[in-house]
């Protein structure tokens, strides 16, 4: 029966599965603040039908999409709405990336250029005239400050200070640190190593690590992202072959490598995907299985507000991190309402997006201010910049909080047996 083949009804990114219920548009942070954006349903599955007819139906307004994927979380029928929009941008956009977009996108290159000169570059980037030039000439909004570059890269520190001791452990993991831990905030990587070592895992780096490419995809440089992705996949395959899972501390890198590689860049990652995990999820799963234990300092006190980064929501991994944090005995834990902070990586840095970006995050900022936390916890580095700039409240990665609260000696003992 020909009608039976109809049960196998599948389409690219499930765009035909859309039942037009419009729930995605209700949850779209961009649609909530501007009528100029067509909304995920229109920009996604609806527009796709007409783009299949004529590419002239592509609309540059799709650039307003944050790629937060909250539409996909909301969709009751598993339509990959965000993917449809990003794929359309990759396929149909005729606007070439500007110099600014190249700079923002190439986090790897910019980091390796700036790091050695961090003491000069960091204060320079904060100077008003410099910001003025970046704003006026480059289109990088003057309200933004680039995160500080570290004088010593995480990789350099690791090779010098940590690598030699890693082989003494019985169990091992590989760490994909990402650009932020490497060039801007090596302490995050150090915290990771501290916790993993304490629970009895040796830490190793990938043979070759490239930027995951999320900023390249967002800035119209999909080809370069694909090349870098292939390098990462090849390195990860080697690590996995040794039995090392690949752990991360950044939610966005994780999401990009697990899902966007396959959906948007056409990189075959099916054999690697399940071995890539965020460190908090990895630890939480081991704790649940009774394979590791954590001991915390009794004197650690903090009021912590957890912010669910968009890509954490999309992966459905928020509970791993929050359960882990809630194990710390004397903290005061507050769950913030899940909403986008508005920065979306390099999006909020662009002059044309600044106001929209801040309008999107306004609800979250208010929520944080009302809660009065000592710090906000989130796995996304760009959420961190946005929240710190917009609320003044410090933001920490959950693994850094765990590292800070951890009783290292006690934890070591618990996991030695």
């Amino acid at each position: 029966m020909a009608t039976e083949t109809q049960t196998k009804n599948v389409s690219v990114n499930n765009f035909e599965q859309c039942l037009k219920c419009s729930i995605c548009t209700v949850y779209c942070p961009v649609s909530a603040v501007t009528p100029l954006y067509p909304g995920p349903k229109q920009a996604g599955p609806d527009g796709e039908r007409y783009r299949l007819k004529d590419k002239e139906f592509f609309n540059e307004a799709l650039k307003m999409c944050l790629n937060c994927k909250r539409c996909e979380v909301a969709c009751p029928n598993d339509v990959h709405i965000g993917d449809i929009i990003q794929a359309a941008r990759i396929k149909y956009s005729t606007q070439k990336p500007k110099l600014r977009d190249m700079m923002l996108a190439n986090t790897d290159f910019m980091g390796s250029m700036a790091s050695p000169f961090a003491p000069i570059v960091n204060p320079m980037l904060k100077l008003k005239p410099v910001k003025g030039i970046l704003h006026g000439v480059m289109g990088i909004d003057k309200h933004r400050t680039f995160p500080n570059y570290a004088h010593q890269k995480f990789e350099t520190w690791f090779k010098k200070e940590a690598a030699p001791q890693q082989d003494q452990y019985r169990k091992h993991v590989t760490y994909f640190h990402g650009c932020y831990a490497n060039y801007n905030y090596p302490q995050l990587g150090k915290d990771f190593v501290k916790v993993m070592n304490a629970v009895g895992y040796g830490v190793h780096l990938l043979e070759k690590e490239k930027c995951c490419g999320v900023a390249l995809i967002a800035n119209g440089l999909a080809e370069q992202a694909k090349r870098q992705g292939e390098v990462n996949m090849a390195s990860m395959r080697k690590a996995i072959a040794k039995g090392h899972p690949v752990l991360t501390t950044s939610s966005t890198c994780t999401f990009t490598m697990r899902d966007e590689y396959d959906h948007l860049l056409g990189i075959d990652n099916h054999d690697v995907r399940d071995s890539i995990s965020l460190v908090t999820r990895f630890l939480q799963q081991l704790i649940e299985k009774g394979e590791i234990k954590l001991a915390f300092r009794a004197d650690y006190r903090k009021r912590i507000a957890y912010h669910s980064a968009c890509h954490m929501e999309r992966m459905g991994w928020v509970p791993y991190s929050t359960r882990l944090l809630r194990m710390i005995p004397n903290i005061d834990f507050v769950m913030l309402e899940s909403q986008c902070c508005g920065i979306s990586g390099t999006y909020g840095f662009k002059k044309e997006n600044y106001e929209r970006s801040q309008a999107i995050g306004e609800g979250l900022f208010q929520n944080i201010k009302e809660v009065h936390p000592d710090c906000v916890a989130t796995e996304c580095e760009t959420c961190k910049w946005q929240i710190e700039m917009s609320t003044g409240v410090p933001v920490m990665n959950p693994i850094s909080i765990i590292a800070e609260a951890l009783d290292v000696e006690e934890t070591r003992k618990l996991n030695e047996k």
Binding site: L19, Q42, R49
Partner: protein, 539 residues
Amino acid sequence: MNTQRKNYDVVVIGGGITGAGTARDCAMRGLKVLLVERYDFSTGATGRNHGLLHSGARYAVTDPDSATECIQENMILRKIARHCVEETEGLFITLPEDDLNYQATFVQKCTEAGIRAEIIDPKLAKIMEPAVNPEIIGAVKIPDASVDPFRLTMANVLDAQLHGAEVLVYHEVVELIIEQTRVVGVKLRNNHNGETFNVYASITINAAGIWGTLIAQMAGVKINMFPAKGSLLIFGHRVNNMVINRCRKPANADILVPDDAVCVIGTTSDRVPIEECDYMRVTPEEVEVLLTEGMKLAPSLGTTRILRAYAGVRPLVASDDDPTGRSISRGIVTLDHEKRDGLAGFATITGGKMMTYRLMAEQVTDLACQKLGVTKTCQTATTPLPGSEKKPELKKYSFAQKASEGRHGTLDANVKHGDVSNDALVCECEGVSVGEVRYAVTKLHVHNLINLRRRTRVGMGTCQGELCACRTAGVMGEEDGAQRAINDLAGFMNERWKGMQPVAWGDNLAEAQLTATIYQGLLGVDKLAKERRLEYYEI
């Protein structure tokens, strides 16, 4: 009974493409014309076909005269109706189960008919049209295209009006007024309020498609029609961007046409009794045939969501005993009933195809002019239809503006764009804005949501009215009041379901369930609707 004496040169019966084209031609030649239609424009075969701008290749082997007419009209319509035509081009493919020798005959016959048929490497065909069955062993490229019959009909009506024609929709001919041996006019019934009145004309032209046989009967004239039902399926999006045909003798489900944002497979062909022509239903067997054969043209049809099934009736004129109707000529039949039946003032134009409507109109208008002593020659082949004066630009606009310009061509200038109220979308699937609805309601003979759908594609997209219907009813209700809008809404949703029902499975069924939940469960439209208006029986 409200009687009024109105005189015309010509009354044209039937608001399909033939009637609309005839009204246009007559009006352009300076005749005083009345066009009457019992329901809405293009509710018969005009609105229930493939939307294929035939190259004529399909008939080249079996019906060379029709083939020649098709290719000539094809080239004319590309020029005069460019906003209704999408120049997709087409393929005739040979599958392993087909006889490849047929290809040579086919190409030779096409060439004889004046159709540019070019044998191409199957590998090239697969590059040109990636959706085509990869197992093809032969391919011929021919100048098929896609045409929107609703737009084409409307453009002809608008031009007729611009040339002074009067138009009455929802007015049904209930009687031909005959004095001695001459038809002198028609008695009309207003199908909205039941009132009847007479109009008088020197010539009455019967362009009522398959229903023309019933019109002729009113004058005691017998036309031996052959009602051939054809069923088709609409898919949720385009899988192909070129028309795909089977290179063999015409058979079931061997044409796949990309139309707007969808594609359509068809058709079947079965003789049906004339009484059934008003109540066409697509059977499960027909759906099965369409799918099975369709998948041979483009395998991905098997896994593509089907939106609707529909059926129309070809107004073929029987000339032999073929029970399928496949071998009956698609040729044009112009009947001068004065000569044929001794009944003056009456002519019938039938047979033919949507493709050749303009030529049909020309022939019957020539006849009318000859009887009326009018010498002005036909201009319809060279004068662009309203909307087609120049190519749409499709640049720099929003999705809705592009969609609207695609639908109305230069007439899009009448649609208000650029302010929040008019730019708001009522139909997101097809990009129909409030402004476009307002334009259609005031200028395009729109009496209800179903009429509006034919003018704008509202409700023709993936959701089949789920979200757009209530918004559109709201806009129309601004003028007509809430109760009328609710009644209209109920009728519209029933009409949408009729087409979904034969293919109600998978996502289509889920869509229908959600729709039912919204309209029955949440809004209670079925309880609030007060009357079932006559016009819904047109569906």
